[in-house]
C-alpha cells in the first residue's frame, strides 16, 4: 500500500512514515525544498465518534505537493476527501499527524492565527458556491477584505479587478440569485482569489454545473494554475482529471494510489 506520495516520481514509493521527512530534507536545498514541499502532509489521522462505532475518516495519509501544482483528490463518497480538504484548509484539527503549508505548521499556530492563515494563504471554492445571498457579486468578492485594514476604495478596486479578470465586471452589482450557476461559481472563484492567495482549495467546484459550464470553470482553474497558483481540488468527476498535474485517490481514509498508476478499473 502506498502511504506517501511526492511530486517526484522517484519518491512515489512505499515509504515508512517516520523516515520520509528526514530523507526528503536531507536531499534538497532548504529554499527549493520549501517549493517542492509547499504542502507537506504527514501521518494525517482523523476519527469521528458519533452515536455508533467510531468512523475512521483518515488513516495515516502522507502527501507532499510542490508549489504551483494542480492536485486532484478523488475517491468514493466517504473515502475522506472532504475531511482531508477541511484539515488541509485549517478548518478541522486532525487527531494525529501534521500539515505544513509554505513551511507553516498549521496546527501549531496559536489562537486565531489559523483564521489569519486561511485569510492570507488560502482561497476556498465550494461545491454549492456558498455565496452570501444578500450581498452583490462585488460585495461577495470583497468579503475576505472586509476585515483587513485597507482603504475601501482599494478593496473595491481589487474586487472589481478580479471580477473583470473572470469576465464578470458587468455582473458586479447583481445578487447571487440573479446569476447563472457558472457565474456564481466564477464569483466564488473571484472571492477565493481576491486576497491573492498562493493556494486554492476547491471542493467539488463543478459538482452542481452542467458539462459545458464545467469546462468553462475548469478552464478558469487551468488559467490560475498557469499563473502559478497551487490548487488542490476534490472531485468525483473523472472527466476533469485531465486538468490535474497529479491525481491521488483516497479509499477508506487511506491513500490508495496515484493516477495514472492506479489500475484502470479502480472505482472512484
Amino acid at each position: 500500500m502506498i502511504t506517501s506520495v511526492t511530486d517526484d516520481p522517484q519518491t512515489t514509493t512505499a515509504t515508512p512514515h517516520d523516515e520520509a521527512p528526514a530523507a526528503a530534507q536531507a536531499a534538497v536545498d532548504p529554499a527549493d525544498g520549501r517549493a517542492a514541499r509547499f504542502i507537506d502532509v504527514r501521518g494525517l489521522e482523523k476519527t469521528f465518534s458519533g452515536d455508533g462505532a467510531p468512523v475512521y475518516a483518515l488513516r495515516g495519509v502522507d502527501v507532499t505537493v510542490s508549489e504551483g501544482s494542480f492536485l486532484g483528490v478523488m475517491g468514493q463518497s466517504g473515502s475522506g476527501k472532504s475531511t482531508f480538504l477541511s484539515i488541509l484548509g485549517g478548518l478541522s484539527h486532525p487527531d494525529a499527524g501534521s500539515i505544513s503549508v509554505d513551511g507553516i505548521d498549521l496546527y501549531k499556530l496559536p489562537g486565531e492565527r489559523l483564521a489569519d492563515f486561511r485569510r492570507e494563504y488560502l482561497g476556498f471554492v465550494f461545491q454549492s458556491f456558498n455565496l452570501v445571498p444578500y450581498l452583490t457579486a462585488l460585495e461577495n468578492v470583497t468579503l475576505p477584505l472586509a476585515v483587513k485594514k485597507m482603504p475601501s476604495a482599494e478593496k473595491r478596486r481589487r474586487a472589481l479587478e478580479v471580477l473583470d479578470h473572470l469576465g464578470l465586471a458587468d455582473r458586479a452589482g447583481h445578487l447571487p440569485g440573479k446569476l447563472s450557476g457558472g457565474e456564481q461559481e466564477r464569483v466564488a472563484i473571484a472571492r477565493a482569489l481576491v486576497n491573492e492567495p498562493p493556494l486554492i482549495l476547491a471542493d467539488e467546484p463543478t459538482g452542481a454545473l452542467d458539462s459545458e459550464t464545467t469546462v468553462e470553470i475548469m478552464d478558469v482553474f487551468a488559467g490560475l494554475h498557469r499563473e502559478g497558483i497551487t490548487i488542490v481540488m476534490v472531485t468525483h468527476n473523472p472527466e476533469i482529471q485531465r486538468y490535474f498535474d497529479r491525481t491521488i485517490v483516497l479509499r477508506d481514509g487511506r491513500l490508495d494510489c496515484e493516477l495514472p498508476a492506479c489500475d484502470v478499473g479502480t472505482p472512484l
Partner: protein, 385 residues
C-alpha cells in the same frame, strides 16, 4: 467594505427578519416611553393639582387655651398670651433659606364690621396671592378687587346683605364698590366680604397687622417639613402648622403610581430582552452555513461576534428612535383619556434615554447569540466540507 456594510446589507435585504427585530424592540421601547411620559405628565398634573388645593402651611399667632371647668361642667375657655402677626413677619418669611420652595404667601386680616346695619366678616387679602392660592374661588360675571375701594362678596354674604355687582356699600366710613360675587363654595368663605389688605387694615384700625398667613409650598421642590422648621425658627411668636397628612397622602398616591409604572417598565424590558434574544438566536442558527463561509475565508471569532453585535446595534438604534416617537404618539393619544387637563411633557432626555435603552437591551440580549456565532465550528457550520 467593512463589517458594518455586511450588517447593513443583511438588515436591508432580509427585511422581514430585520422588521421583526426592530418591531420587537420598538414595541418595548414605545411602551416604556409611553409609560414614563404618561407618568411624568400625570405626576406634573398631580403636583399642580396639589398646589391648587390651597395652602398646606398656616402661620398664626401663638395662643395658649386655658380650659375653665368645675365639677366636670365646662365653662368654656379663654385664649391667653395671644400675640399678633404683622407685615414685618412677611419679610421674615421671605428670608428663610427654603423660600424657593414656597409658591404663594398670602396674608389675611379678618374682623367683624357693620354693613347696612348687619354684622359681617371683612377679610383683607392681597387679591393676586389669595386668588392664586384659592383656585376654587370663582367670581361670576365680575373680577377680584383691584383697589382699596373694591370688594368681592361671598355668595351667602351677598344674599344676606342684598348685594349685587356694581353696588356701593359703606363700611367703617369707607365706600366700596362690589366688583363681583363669589360662586358658592360651601365653606365659611361664603360669608366673607373680601377686599384689599390695606383697606381692611384701615377699616378695622389694625394698620400693619395680619390675622394669619396661608402658605402654599411646592411639594416637588422642597420638603414641607424643612420649610415648617425654618418658618418656626424665623417666627418664634407664631405657630406654624403643616397639613402633613394631606401632603403625605397625596404624595404617597403619586409615588404608588410611579412605582406601579416602573414595575411595568421592568417587566416590559425583560420581555423585550427575551424577544431580542430569541430573534437573534434564531437569526444566528439560520445563518450557520453563512457563518461557516465567513470562518472559512478567514474571519476570526471576534469578527463574527462583532458582525452580529453591529447588526443588533443598528436595529436597536432604529428601534430606539422609532420607539420614542411611537411612545410619544401613544402618550398624545392616551393622556387626554386618563388625565384631561394634563399636558404632554416632551423630554429630550427621555428620547436619549429611549435610544440608550434600546441599544443597551439590543447589545445585552444579543451578546450570547453573538458569542455563540463566534464559537461555531466552521466545519460543522459549512457541512459541505
Amino acid at each position: 467594505m467593512r463589517l458594518r456594510t455586511i450588517a447593513v446589507n443583511n438588515l436591508r435585504r432580509r427585511k422581514a427578519r430585520a422588521a421583526f427585530l426592530v418591531a420587537g424592540l420598538l414595541i418595548g421601547v414605545g411602551t416604556v416611553v409611553a409609560l414614563i411620559s404618561l407618568t411624568q405628565s400625570m405626576t406634573g398634573q398631580t403636583q399642580a393639582n396639589l398646589q391648587s388645593f390651597g395652602a398646606n402651611i398656616v402661620v398664626k399667632p401663638r395662643t395658649r387655651d386655658v380650659s375653665l371647668s368645675y365639677g366636670g361642667i365646662s365653662a368654656g375657655g379663654v385664649a391667653v398670651g395671644a400675640q399678633s402677626l404683622s407685615e414685618a413677619d412677611l419679610a421674615r418669611i421671605d428670608a428663610i433659606p427654603s423660600r424657593a420652595g414656597i409658591a404663594v404667601v398670602s396674608p389675611e386680616l379678618v374682623g367683624a364690621v357693620l354693613v347696612k346695619g348687619r354684622r359681617a366678616l371683612l377679610m383683607g387679602v392681597r387679591p393676586a396671592a389669595e386668588f392664586k392660592l384659592k383656585r376654587w374661588w370663582s367670581v361670576d360675571a365680575g373680577r377680584p378687587p383691584a383697589s382699596g375701594h373694591e370688594l368681592v362678596a361671598g355668595a351667602a354674604a351677598a344674599r344676606t346683605l342684598r348685594l349685587l355687582m356694581g353696588d356701593y356699600v359703606r363700611i367703617g366710613g369707607r365706600r366700596f364698590t362690589v366688583t363681583g360675587i363669589l360662586r358658592e363654595t360651601g365653606s365659611q368663605d361664603d360669608g366673607l366680604l373680601i377686599t384689599d389688605l390695606r383697606a381692611a387694615q384701615k377699616v378695622l384700625h389694625q394698620e400693619g397687622m395680619v390675622t394669619l398667613v396661608q402658605i402654599a409650598a411646592l411639594y416637588a421642590d422642597a420638603p414641607v417639613d424643612q420649610i415648617v422648621k425654618e418658618l418656626s425658627a424665623a417666627l418664634p411668636g407664631a405657630e406654624v402648622t403643616a397639613m402633613q397628612e394631606a401632603v403625605k397622602g397625596r404624595m404617597h398616591a403619586v409615588d404608588q403610581f410611579k412605582g406601579f409604572s416602573y414595575a411595568i417598565v421592568g417587566v416590559v424590558i425583560a420581555i423585550e430582552a427575551l424577544v431580542v434574544f430569541i430573534t437573534m438566536m434564531g437569526a444566528v442558527n439560520e445563518r450557520t452555513h453563512e457563518i461557516g463561509v465567513f470562518r472559512a475565508i478567514g474571519y476570526r471569532r471576534v469578527h463574527i461576534t462583532r458582525l452580529i453585535l453591529i447588526e443588533a446595534l443598528i436595529a436597536s438604534l432604529i428601534a430606539g428612535v422609532l420607539g420614542y416617537l411611537a411612545g410619544m404618539g401613544v402618550t398624545y393619544a392616551v393622556l387626554p383619556l386618563v388625565a384631561r387637563s394634563a399636558a404632554v411633557a416632551w423630554a429630550p432626555l427621555l428620547g436619549l434615554g429611549a435610544v440608550a435603552l434600546a441599544v443597551a437591551i439590543g447589545a445585552f440580549a444579543s451578546l450570547y447569540p453573538a458569542l455563540h456565532a463566534g464559537r461555531m465550528d466552521p466545519t460543522e457550520a459549512l457541512r459541505a466540507l
